[in-house]
């Protein structure tokens, strides 16, 4: 989805309200700005506590052997 915004006199980039709400941006939120050839990519920087304190049931469960079976696929496709 595309949103149109503008750059302020001091270089500020204003994120529309809909974007702020969708991505959970708030005042003083640290963000990452990655510069690409034709533009920038902005994303929220989460902290380690946030990720480690997530609901443990949210983690995907998978067999160790399935994970391990990917070893040979990676090795064979170097």
């Amino acid at each position: 989805m595309e949103y149109i915004s503008k750059i302020g006199s001091k270089g500020e980039i204003f994120t529309p309200k809909a974007v702020r709400e969708k991505l959970g941006f708030h005042a003083n939120q640290l963000i990452s700005i990655i510069v690409r050839k034709n533009g920038i990519f902005v994303s929220k920087i989460r902290n380690e506590e946030e990720i480690l304190n997530r609901d443990e049931n949210d983690n995907v469960k998978i067999s160790y052997h399935v994970i391990k079976s990917m070893d040979s696929e990676i090795e064979d496709n170097w």
Partner: protein
Amino acid sequence: MILFLDTSYLFPYVGIDLYDDGKKKWNLVDLKKLMKLDCEILYCDLSLFEIYAKLLKLTIKGILNLNLDEIHSNLVLLSKSSRLTKVEFLPQILEQNILKKLRKIHPDTLDVIIFYLSVGFADYFLTMDDTLKNAISSSKICMEWINNQNSQFQILVNKKHFEKL
């Protein structure tokens, strides 16, 4: 005490818990307990690639239905973790003869490099892969090299409790 984690131990950080025959093997709760220990915890930057490569492959195969943007974002966070210290592969001095010997006895290059680095950096290497430990234990040359490098070094397989180390 310095611990070096094999890649499998890092999966819960990015949102993947490991099970074995339906029983919990290593999950986010285990990892969080480990991270609370009063010790240094290291991992190799190649593990970040390994995790992404495996999860990408499992997603393509349809075995997992993952949000790979979120996995990537969690890997970025892991790479900047204040608790888990990343050891970078490329700047290290690599003894090519030893790496060749290790690779001959174990069929996985990433495992071999990660293990090699652990000997130089840590007291314990934590792995879930007993084939690696068995291969190394049966190689006189590799055992001698480990003893010369780091005589206290140990490989711990499938260990979940570390308080008594």
